[in-house]
């Protein structure tokens, strides 16, 4: 463990706080995230409990940040603000926010409070990250980046940005956040604000056992595998990523793993993976850390369709009657037929046919001299031409 790195972790109660105070090596930098049920997705502390924890943590000289990561519609947002206004905000080192509304509120009302900006959804480009930094100026203390960024991108961003970066290095991967309560209706209990936990498995998905939580804020689904990057501390340090978050809030993880994590960060053990792998309820993965190819489909889409060459484009064959005629739907805005043209036809398979139209008729069988966009005309049958064949004026004529 390099001592320029900081372990960022959640503390939910006095017992956890005491445990950290008693077991942590003073050389290891620890930053605690505190929260309360109204502000945070997964804290269930009351406001009073939060203040108590904050007081104790400060007495113990921990650096403490406040988590405000819920997304709130206007009416709920106003209630959240009322709570924020009651809290001793000066005692927090920083506030962690995701909702741009929360960002805007803190920027305006608490310009002295450092912001740890959670950009874990999207924000996969440097231009955007720089704009956020510019917008928040010196108030921005840290960017919390997405676990979908590969190590190459993390290294690039760390180099290009003057703002410190934080990433999750161990814990559940959140997949889905809905404000609607989705578990209690199935459990057939009245919808309420108590926390319900479940695991979901679908025959339509190759994966099973998605952890699910319903609470005051709605419903959350997590991945069937948890993130593990704790074997990458050295590499992350070399990239300049010094804030490493560990999330021990679920599955009794605090009790099972906090000691091991503290030892890892203190450098007294180097490889906690075996112990974590054996005791974690789910398999561990590196996610997209090594490579992110989830946009393969996106890349494939490019140029998938045949491009029209519009200067010469006439339209598309929409019907073929063997040995009789073709029906041509005119797509160009105007087509003068005083001279019967030579045309190039390109079939969906890419075969080209160059020929002269000997006649062009309306659906009533009358000769036509000019047509407009979206008119349908009949032209002579051409062997091998099928529906969706594109028709162009032959550029050489």
């Amino acid at each position: 463990m390099n001592h320029s790195q900081t372990l960022v972790t959640y503390v939910r109660n006095i017992a956890e706080l005491n445990f950290l105070a008693e077991n942590h090596n003073p050389q290891v930098k620890i930053e605690l995230i505190l929260g309360t049920s109204l502000l945070s997705r997964f804290f269930d502390n009351s406001e009073h409990e939060l203040i108590e924890l904050l007081r104790k943590a400060r007495q113990m000289n921990f650096s403490v940040t406040l988590e405000w990561d819920v997304l709130n519609q206007e009416d709920r947002f106003l209630k959240t603000i009322q709570l924020i206004e009651k809290l001793p905000m000066h005692d927090f080192f920083a506030i962690r926010v995701q909702d741009p509304g929360a960002v805007s509120f803190i920027k305006e009302k608490y310009p002295w409070l450092k912001i740890h900006l959670i950009l874990e959804n999207g924000n996969h480009n440097l231009i955007g990250l720089k704009k956020w930094s510019e917008f928040l100026g010196p108030q921005l203390d840290r960017l919390v980046l997405s676990n979908e960024l590969s190590k190459e991108l993390l290294a690039d961003y760390s180099k290009a940005l003057s703002i410190p970066i934080e990433i999750l290095t161990f814990g559940r991967i959140l997949l889905f956040y809905s404000p609607r309560k989705l578990l209690s209706p199935v459990e057939k209990k009245a919808v309420h604000d108590q926390t319900i936990e479940a695991f979901g498995t679908s025959e339509e998905s190759p994966h099973s056992g998605f952890p699910l939580i319903e609470n005051l804020h709605g419903t959350f689904m997590f991945n069937v595998k948890d993130l593990y990057l704790l074997d990458q501390l050295q590499a992350l340090n070399e990239m300049g990523i010094h804030f490493l978050r560990v999330d021990l809030r679920f599955d009794d993880s605090f009790n099972k793993f906090s000691k091991t994590i503290l030892e890892l960060f203190a450098g007294t053990i180097t490889e906690p993976e075996m112990s974590l792998r054996q005791n974690n309820p789910r398999p561990l993965i590196k996610g997209f850390y090594n490579i992110n190819k989830s946009d393969v489909l996106f890349a494939k889409l490019k140029n998938k369709r045949t491009q029209r060459l519009d200067d010469f484009y006439i339209g598309e064959i929409v019907d073929v009657e063997r040995d009789q005629q073709l029906a041509l739907l005119v797509k160009s805005t105007h087509w003068d037929l005083s001279q019967l043209p030579e045309v190039k036809m390109i079939t969906p398979e890419g075969k080209e046919k160059i020929l002269q139209f000997t006649w062009v008729k309306s659906s009533l069988g009358e000769s036509v001299k000019s047509v407009e966009q979206n008119d349908l005309v009949l032209v002579p049958y051409v062997n091998g031409v099928t529906v969706k064949t594109q028709v162009y004026l032959n550029p050489k004529t």
Partner: protein
């Protein structure tokens, strides 16, 4: 006296659907280019189709917005300026964006108007204020926001506000679902959503001392239908009402545009929605494929009754038989066949502005006049003319 009504913004999943939406009454359409949008399944527009679509819409006074609402990566942003130049040349009316890097790129290189996509989940006044400072002119609010909250956002910011009035809904906060990214290796915020929320799940509930198992389509949302809430939208001054569904059929694009534009047209003329047609409009909305309707969070935050706890059912009450390519007055209609029909069938023609008409298929011929026993999808056929039918009318049949 004409009463103010919001813009009706319809989806245009392809050039043909754009024409359908425009002709059936949309005030504006939104569409995607070959890249940068979120709908990989829709027949996204080539540049030339875009040019044709913009010309078609603009010549009828209809606005065109182009979606660039993927969360773009650095390498995509390198390709964006070239596309933006094309959009500027085509004089499109706005771009719909969700990512700050894209907003920054658009505003630094062009004077295109930027609308914030619902993908950015803008939910409150403070959030709207932030995006306003970033340069957006209109906000497409998250579907979790009520009309009354939207009104407050509008009043506090004077920004243009757009809300969804109809269509499918994501169960998650938009932009906050990455199920497909981890389970299918497809980025749902870049068009790769595998609709895992529509699956049936077996749920093991963690109780004090036991596990209880239940099966449910617990995270699938019903579809939004806001027609009954049009007075509230108008009263709140919501600028634009958006219909979801770039991937949906011609029938959908036409029906929804027709119904909502007729309803808004009624209000424009009379200043109220007390019309015998309301039941008719609702009945038409039930004829397009949907998963049971809900008002979502438009009125109060979406509750238990907004969950669609059943398999997504593709059974449609109506199927599209074809699109009229030519109406030769008094003689015949030429129809681009979308699904088979036969002589003797009773079809329904959907005129743009007037009520649906029944059409009896007394003859069915090829273009050269050969009688056909059945129409073949992908061909063009002649059927009898019916008064009022026009080019691009949808013809449908009860399934």
């Amino acid at each position: 006296m004409s009463h103010w009504t919001p813009e009706l913004l319809s989806p245009a999943g392809s050039l043909e659907k754009l024409k359908v939406a425009v002709l059936y009454g949309a005030d504006a359409v939104y569409l995607g280019g070959q890249k940068f949008g979120l709908r990989q399944a829709s027949d996204n527009f080539t540049y030339e189709e875009l040019a044709e679509g913009v010309e078609f819409a603009h010549s009828r006074g209809v606005l065109v917005y182009v979606v660039l609402n993927s969360f773009l990566h650095d390498k995509d942003l390198l390709e964006l300026p070239e596309f933006l130049t094309l959009l500027v040349d085509l004089k499109i009316d706005a771009v719909i964006v969700s990512d700050l890097g894209v907003i920054e790129t658009v505003l630094s290189l062009t004077d295109l108007v930027v609308h914030l996509s619902t993908q950015a989940s803008c939910l409150n006044i403070e959030s709207a204020k932030l995006w306003q400072q970033m340069g957006v002119k209109r906000i497409v609010l998250g579907r979790e926001v009520t009309i009354q909250e939207a009104r407050k956002i509008k009043e506090a910011t004077r920004l243009e506000i757009e809300m969804f009035v109809h269509g499918s809904m994501c169960m998650s906060f938009s932009g906050n679902c990455v199920i497909s990214n981890y389970t299918q290796g497809r980025d749902s915020n870049r068009g790769g959503c595998a609709h895992s929320c529509r699956f049936e799940y077996s749920l093991d509930f963690k109780n004090e001392d036991s596990m209880e198992n239940k099966k449910a389509y617990f995270m699938s949302s019903k579809d939004l239908e806001g027609i009954r809430l049009l007075p509230e939208f108008i009263e709140a001054g919501i600028d634009s009402l958006k219909v979801e569904g770039r991937n949906k059929s011609h029938h959908y694009a036409g029906t929804i545009s027709k119904v909502y534009s007729e309803a808004l047209g009624h209000y424009k003329k009379h200043g109220h929605f007390l019309s015998d047609d309301m039941l008719n409009w609702e009945s038409e909305l039930r004829k397009v494929s949907h998963r049971d309707y809900t008002t979502g969070s438009l009125d109060v935050y979406a509750g238990v009754d907004s969950i669609y706890n059943q398999r997504v059912d593709e059974d449609n009450e109506y199927v599209v038989s074809g699109i009229v390519l030519e109406a030769c007055v008094g003689k015949h209609l030429l129809v681009d066949v979308k699904s088979a029909f036969m002589p003797g069938d009773i079809l329904e023609v959907m005129p743009f502005k007037t009520p649906i008409e029944n059409l009896s298929v007394t003859f069915l011929e090829s273009l050269s006049g050969v009688s056909l026993p059945k129409s073949k999808p992908g061909s063009v056929v002649k059927i009898p003319y019916i008064l009022g039918a026009e080019k691009f009318n949808i013809i449908r049949k009860k399934a």
